[in-house]
């Protein structure tokens, strides 16, 4: 379509008079004068460096004007060889690797890995550790959904929600820092329990968070749920029928928003989830708005689970009893941070040679895990996170295969996006919430 020359400039000084040149619109496009109109689609690269693609996701889009004709996601820009690295480290060291894959939901990676190894070993974690693991995972789910909400809002233009979401996430990260010393990628869980117990005051912090959060979630809903622009950008966008999603292996909020109530915590429970009361949140519309609603409601359900965890938190040890498995050491907070408690150091250095040898062997050589294989699935904020762990009986994992939900969910991105507008690509990617650390590992 030919652009029309602008109307005559307003009266007065024309700021562009020095540099202005006459815009001479062609009378017809090349080819038009002969009566045939050439149409070409445009091949545009979106990413990997892009503020709205949730990390280093590259999408090769074929565009016809604003419409997406085809979309090919290209991944692998964040690949760091974690699966190969785990094959060359001890079982214990694997936790620090594995926690860094899906970096917005590190506790789920740790939970799945530790649970898988504990199944191979045939051990049970103590009850206090079990409840604390669930509590930490659910707090992590809230934090991850807050990031999903905040980044989706930022990408669609609701910038305030970005700030509010991250403000609440800071409260959760403070709790994590209190427990483990780190805000992210904690490596706090151990094979057989947790690294150390919660400090005094942690449960009070969690309780005050539980009082704070419901009002804040209501605030997000006030800002977004009936917002006309939010509705326009999300209603009816990115709809994929649930049969397609199931066939493509998608899980998590995108599947539940399409009406399939699959939640690993309910259908294949682990870690004690069968004893907690919570709803599996589903919607039927299957569009970006439904996924937003599912995440908001899941945050509320996670708050309920955290409340139940606090109520039933038993006393006791947080590490398994078995001396061949229990990671040695007794951590406490000293003047220079978290380290081994001075009384424990006195014990191994001055009192007991056997304890010193045990500590040394378990830390340097690691534990031995019986040969076998296990598939452990957990419900991460993005869907089914599955760990297929193979052991050959040694002190190093033989294979740690991570079935990351974002990787499989991204397969359904073309189905969501093709036929829509470029702007809807942003909404679809944001509502799918892929974390490239998990996709690429």
């Amino acid at each position: 379509m030919a652009a029309k020359p602008s109307d005559s400039p307003p009266v007065g000084r024309d700021p562009f008079s020095d540099t202005r040149r006459e815009f001479d619109a062609p009378a017809s496009l090349p080819g038009e004068e002969h009566g045939d109109v050439r149409e070409e689609t445009m091949l545009i690269n979106m990413g990997p460096q892009h503020p709205s693609t949730h990390g280093v996701l590259r999408m090769v889009l074929e565009l016809d004007g604003e419409s997406v004709v085809s979309c090919r996601p290209v991944v692998g820009y964040l690949h760091t060889g974690i699966e190969k690295n785990t094959e060359w480290r001890t079982w214990q060291q694997g936790i620090a690797f594995v926690t860094r894959m899906d970096y917005l939901a590190p506790f789920f990676n740790e939970m799945a890995y530790c649970t898988a190894v504990e199944r191979l070993l045939g051990i049970e974690v103590p009850p206090r550790a079990r409840v604390l693991r669930v509590m930490l995972c659910e707090l992590n789910r809230i934090a991850s959904h807050l990031v999903a909400l905040a980044t989706l809002s930022l990408e669609l233009g609701a910038i305030s929600v970005m700030l509010y979401g991250f403000r609440e996430r800071e409260v959760i990260l403070d709790i994590f820092e209190m427990a483990s010393g780190l805000r992210m990628n904690h490596a706090y869980m151990r094979i057989g329990g947790l690294a150390m117990d919660l400090p005094d005051g942690a449960t009070d912090r969690v309780r005050s968070f539980l009082n704070l959060m419901p009002g804040r979630i209501d605030e997000y809903e006030d800002l977004l749920s009936q917002n006309p622009i939010w509705l326009e950008r999300n209603r009816g966008v990115g709809v994929v029928p649930k049969e397609t999603l199931l066939a493509l292996g998608a899980t998590g909020p995108i599947l539940r928003a399409a009406g399939v109530p699959y939640d690993v915590r309910r259908d294949d429970p682990y870690g004690g989830y069968e004893d907690y009361e919570f709803d599996v949140v589903t919607r039927t519309a299957g569009d970006c708005y439904a996924r937003y609603e599912v995440r908001i409601e899941e945050m509320r359900q996670s708050l309920l689970i955290v409340e139940q965890c606090l109520e039933r938190l038993p006393e006791g040890d947080v590490k398994v009893d078995d001396p061949k498995v229990r990671f040695p050491g007794h951590l406490s907070v000293g003047p220079d941070g978290i380290g081994n408690d001075p009384r424990y150091l006195a014990h191994i250095m001055e009192e007991s040679m056997e304890a010193l040898i045990n500590h040394f062997k378990l830390v340097t050589q690691g534990i031995r895990v019986p040969a076998g294989e296990v598939y452990q699935a957990v419900e991460s904020p993005r869907g089914e996170l599955g760990y297929y762990v193979v052991s050959d009986g040694g002190n190093r994992p033989y294979r740690v295969r991570v079935r990351d939900p974002s990787f499989v969910n991204l397969q359904s991105l073309p189905a969501m996006v093709e036929g829509g507008l470029v702007a809807d690509v942003i909404a679809c990617v944001g509502s799918m919430d892929p974390v490239m650390g998990g996709v690429d590992r």
């Binding site: 991944v75 692998g76 690949h79 060889g81 699966e83 190969k84 690295n85 094959e87 060359w88 480290r89 199944r119 191979l120 045939g122 199931l246 066939a247 493509l248 292996g249 399939v260 699959y262 259908d267 294949d268 076998g372 294989e373 296990v374 598939y375 699935a377 089914e384 599955g386 297929y388 193979v390 033989y398 294979r399 295969r401 079935r403 990787f407 499989v408 991204l410 397969q411 690429d440 590992r441």
Partner: protein
């Protein structure tokens, strides 16, 4: 269906069914994989309609060397089955299951990328994580880990299996 009942049901069709740690594993020949997965998906009392994961493991000291594992799940019954097939070391090839489970598309690309297993009939078999022109198959056990050259006085950090510390 509980694990023992499930294994019992599967033994009608497959000779090699193992139950360990509350998990059922079926070992099939590579030629039968598509038929086996189709049967598991379509059998009305099993309803294993969902592919959770498709991956491979490299056992270089064994023959067959590459073991591809398919993890199936049933929403209705909540049970899981693992199907494994072994592939030879030279030219590992197996039929694609994207016709049975479209979710296998990217999963098979990843196995091809990291192990070099060729999935015959796959609509788009190319590398997915590694760059397109990468040579070698990184997750194979004989793929070197590689050291890291540094700028510090020409030091070289050896790969993990060669470090003395």
């Amino acid at each position: 269906m509980d694990v023992q009942a499930l294994a019992h049901r599967l033994r009608d069709r497959f000779p090699d069914v193992i139950v360990v740690r509350d998990e059922v594993t079926v070992v099939v020949d590579a030629e039968e994989v598509v038929a086996a997965l189709s049967w598991l998906r379509d059998e009305p009392d099993l309803v294993l309609v969902w592919l959770a994961d498709l991956s491979a493991t490299d056992w270089p000291d064994r023959e067959p060397r590459f073991w591809v594992a398919y993890h199936l799940f049933s929403f209705q019954h909540g049970h899981r089955v693992r199907v494994k097939a072994g592939l030879a070391s030279e030219e590992p090839r197996i039929a694609t299951v994207t016709g049975v489970f479209p979710a296998a598309n990217w999963l098979e690309r990843e196995v091809f990328d990291f192990y070099g297993v060729v999935f015959e009939g796959h609509p788009d078999l190319r590398r997915i994580i590694m760059p397109d022109d990468w040579e070698g198959y990184p997750l194979r056990k004989d793929y070197s880990l590689g050291g890291v050259g540094t700028q510090y006085k020409g030091a070289f950090i050896p790969p993990v299996d060669e470090r003395s510390v």
